[in-house]
């Protein structure tokens, strides 16, 4: 049984990369292997913006991540530095900085590159989308 780390560095609207990432993760799980975590980094953090709405004509990736998390309890980690500079803030940061709105919530968890690299020690494979 292999342990996988998934690194997402592309935004939700970049061709089919989000779709491939989701299919890959589902495939890994159905093979009986484990997704240790998914780490959203760089422009990949745009996946975690809870203010996105479904437009009906394309895959709504935000909803897919939520489904994935509730079905398989996948650890969805967001790089905090990459997120805040792109305007994706948790409730705590919104309060601390006097911003009226937050747009990062469960199942997404804030983390740093340090946590990602620490968990990577337990993974045999790292796959980037």
């Amino acid at each position: 049984m292999a342990e996988y780390s998934v690194l997402i560095t592309t935004p939700p609207f970049n061709g089919d990369s989000a779709q491939r990432a989701l299919s890959f993760i589902k495939g890994v799980i159905s093979n009986g292997d484990t997704i240790n975590h998914v780490f959203f980094y760089g422009d990949g953090v745009y996946h975690t913006n809870s203010l996105m709405l479904e437009t009906g004509d394309s895959l709504f990736t935000y909803g897919e991540w939520e489904k994935l998390s509730s079905a398989h309890n996948v650890n969805l980690m967001v790089c905090i530095t990459a997120a805040v500079k792109r305007g994706i803030v948790s409730q705590q940061e919104a309060i601390e900085n006097g911003i009226g709105q937050s747009n990062l919530q469960a199942p997404f968890q804030q983390a740093g590159l340090g946590e990602f690299f620490t968990l990577l020690h337990n993974c045999e494979r790292l796959v980037q989308f």
Binding site: T9, G42, D43, A82, L113, G114, F117, L120, H121, L126
Partner: protein, 122 residues
């Protein structure tokens, strides 16, 4: 500990990827991973020394700090430099001097990828 190969494939200031990749590489060695850097495609342009501009992080200056983060093994793709016709520029004006960057052929690049546990591309 994992052996990571970080591929830099974009021009230095065209988008955020070059900076994100460098932050990624510098953090990795802090947490016990081994990092090699490979510059290819437009990424070889990151090896051109650039002046500082107010408000923008000087990428070439940040790159030259890699040895202080234990990233000693840096490679640059000869073919990419040829394709972009920047060989002479790079020879005269190279961050690679400070990084002791090695020029590699396509075969050597493949060997680098083979030898790494994980490969990430920025």
């Amino acid at each position: 500990m994992a052996a990571l190969l970080v591929r830099f494939t974009q021009s230095p200031y065209g988008n955020a990827l070059s900076q994100d990749g460098l932050d990624f590489a510098l953090a990795a060695t802090n947490y016990g991973h081994e990092v090699k850097a490979l510059f290819e495609n437009e990424g070889v342009l990151q090896l051109v020394k650039t002046d500082s501009i107010k408000g923008i992080k000087n990428h070439s200056k940040r790159l030259s700090s890699m040895p202080f983060f234990d990233i000693e093994d840096c490679y640059a793709c000869t073919e990419s430099a040829k394709a972009l016709n920047v060989q002479s520029t790079l020879q005269n004006n190279l961050v690679a001097d400070e990084l002791t960057c090695q020029w590699v052929s396509v075969e050597e690049k493949l060997a680098l990828i083979e030898s790494a546990d994980h490969v990430v591309t920025f």
